[in-house]
Amino acid sequence: MTTNGHPHIEFRGVSAFYGPKQVLKGISFTVPRNTVLGVIGPANSGKTTMLKAINRTLDFVGGARFTGDVMIKGENVKEMRDANALRRRIGMVFPLPVGLPLSIYENVAYAPRRMGITAKAELDPIVERCLRQSVLWDEVKDRLEMLGTRLSGGQQQRLTLARALSLSPEILCLDEFSIAIDPVTTMRIEEVLKELRKSMTIILVTNLVQQARRLADHTMFLWRGDVIELDSNEVIFSDKPKDRRTYEYVNGIFG
């Protein structure tokens, strides 16, 4: 379950700030390799900020900073020289669907192209694999030249997922990925995620408590920048999690 003795992802007392406002309050946790960590919690809990600390895109947010250490395979992300190389190891899907103003094909081929993969013979299989994994292939295979921005919200969301998978990342972070996707398609993507976890570690931030229950090995309840509870799903979704607030949130009587 470890990588060279290290957990795949480890947070050590990570605090994050936007200007004077603290959004993560020294959180610590580990994610073992090839597991799915579900993250639940109401809005403004710091879930998205947590993901942005992992791939250091927090660097791009004006006035934002984080203290503490985020370790990937025992390596501190802050000490990595090439943040872009780090980002290429981590697939990110954020809640707002973003199709790049390129064709569907080029949306998926974008990251591989930046890595110097330009031959159609190499790109074609990557594009097809990613679009199949994001359950979009059947809908778009006959119009790959269409602009990605012309797709519907749910389709763009799956396009975003396909893009995130295009470099075969070792970690996949999904932030409310199913928000614009219909339930049937969501179920099909969930099946794919179960396959993907054989080759990657997944952090699944979700407002759908049941989605965490279905997919995650462990689930973390994040509230106002604190980890209230992190345990296996058997405990979190049982009648007796360690913290009352977890029980109340999971059962919809929180607040």
Binding site: G63, N84, L100, P101, A111, R114, S166
Partner: protein, 286 residues
């Protein structure tokens, strides 16, 4: 409101009609190709026309790369802060400075201060000419390019950049592959506006390199490349200014002919900007 709009359009149409009717007797292709003769009272407009062309090219060589790169820096790299605000205010202020002040600045900075040591260093004998006038125009039109480019860059949604960064694409890769291709029409519009100002302004080149009269070759390659970069040159705006005010017994149609050609030139360039903007709207990709 419709009446107000008409109030805007009517004078323009009246001016255009008046100029073109008065200029009609001289307007011909030959008029464009002939050099001015007898202090501009006869002949055509070739020498000032080609001078304006090189002035535009020269100023673009300086202002386009500097202005566009500055806009990219301000919009894509610079963090919010006092420095960014100071630069923004400077750009706005620069846009409000009257052109005659730019002319005096160009005279002081480029012609009188920089040119002599430059000549000494390289053993040249350049005088105020295409180079110094181009630099002056470049300084004057820098805000035009920067403002238009920043607007064009800012119109590309931030979410596209974030999506690229999340894929490990560097800032520059993101700019090159997503931001610039989707803002190029807007940037080009700024460049075209710059061309219009460079072609139309008289004051900035008055002291910094333009001259009223210069004999240039009547044919051959020298007619296409008549001016050295360190030599005074003729320009349309300057020519119009002098023949309208300084020369006694100037035939009216020569003045109107010059004005008509200058206006046509600028209308033509402006309509290119309009076409570009329309195409940009039609090709909107999100």
């Amino acid at each position: 409101m419709f009446a107000c709009c008409m109030l805007l359009v009517l004078p323009l149409l009246a001016i255009l009609a008046y100029i073109f009717i008065e200029a009609a007797p001289v307007l011909s292709l030959d008029y464009l190709w002939q050099n001015p003769a007898r202090r501009g009272t006869q002949g055509g407009l070739w020498a000032p026309l080609v001078g304006t062309f090189y002035l535009v090219i020269g100023s673009l060589l300086f202002v386009a790369p500097i202005g566009i790169l500055a806009a990219i820096y301000l919009n894509e790299y610079a963090r919010e802060g006092w420095l960014n605000r100071v630069i923004s205010i400077t750009v706005t202020t620069l846009a409000g400075v009257p052109s005659i002040v730019h002319a005096l600045f160009g005279l002081g900075a480029f012609v009188l201060t920089m040119l002599p040591p430059f000549n000494k260093l390289f053993g040249l004998d350049w005088e105020g000419g295409l180079l110094t006038a181009s630099l002056t125009i470049a300084v004057m039109t820098l805000p035009v390019i920067i403002t238009a480019s920043r607007e064009a860059l800012g119109a590309v949604p931030h979410a596209f950049r974030e999506a690229c960064w999340n894929l490990g694409s560097s800032r520059w890769q993101t700019i090159r592959t997503i931001v610039l291709p989707n803002s190029s029409s807007g940037i080009l519009t700024g460049v075209i506006l710059e061309i219009c100002r460079a072609a139309g302004e008289t004051a900035p080149i008055l002291f910094t390199g333009a001259t009223f009269f210069k004999f240039i070759a009547e044919g051959g390659w020298e007619k296409l490349f008549p001016y050295g970069i360190g030599e005074p040159f003729m320009a349309m705006s300057m020519h119009l200014h002098v023949i309208s005010t300084q020369i006694a017994r100037m035939p009216d149609q020569m003045k109107f002919g010059c004005a008509a050609v200058l206006i046509m030139l600028i209308l033509f360039i402006n309509s290119a900007a309009i076409v570009l903007r329309l195409r940009m709207r039609a090709r909107k990709r999100w």
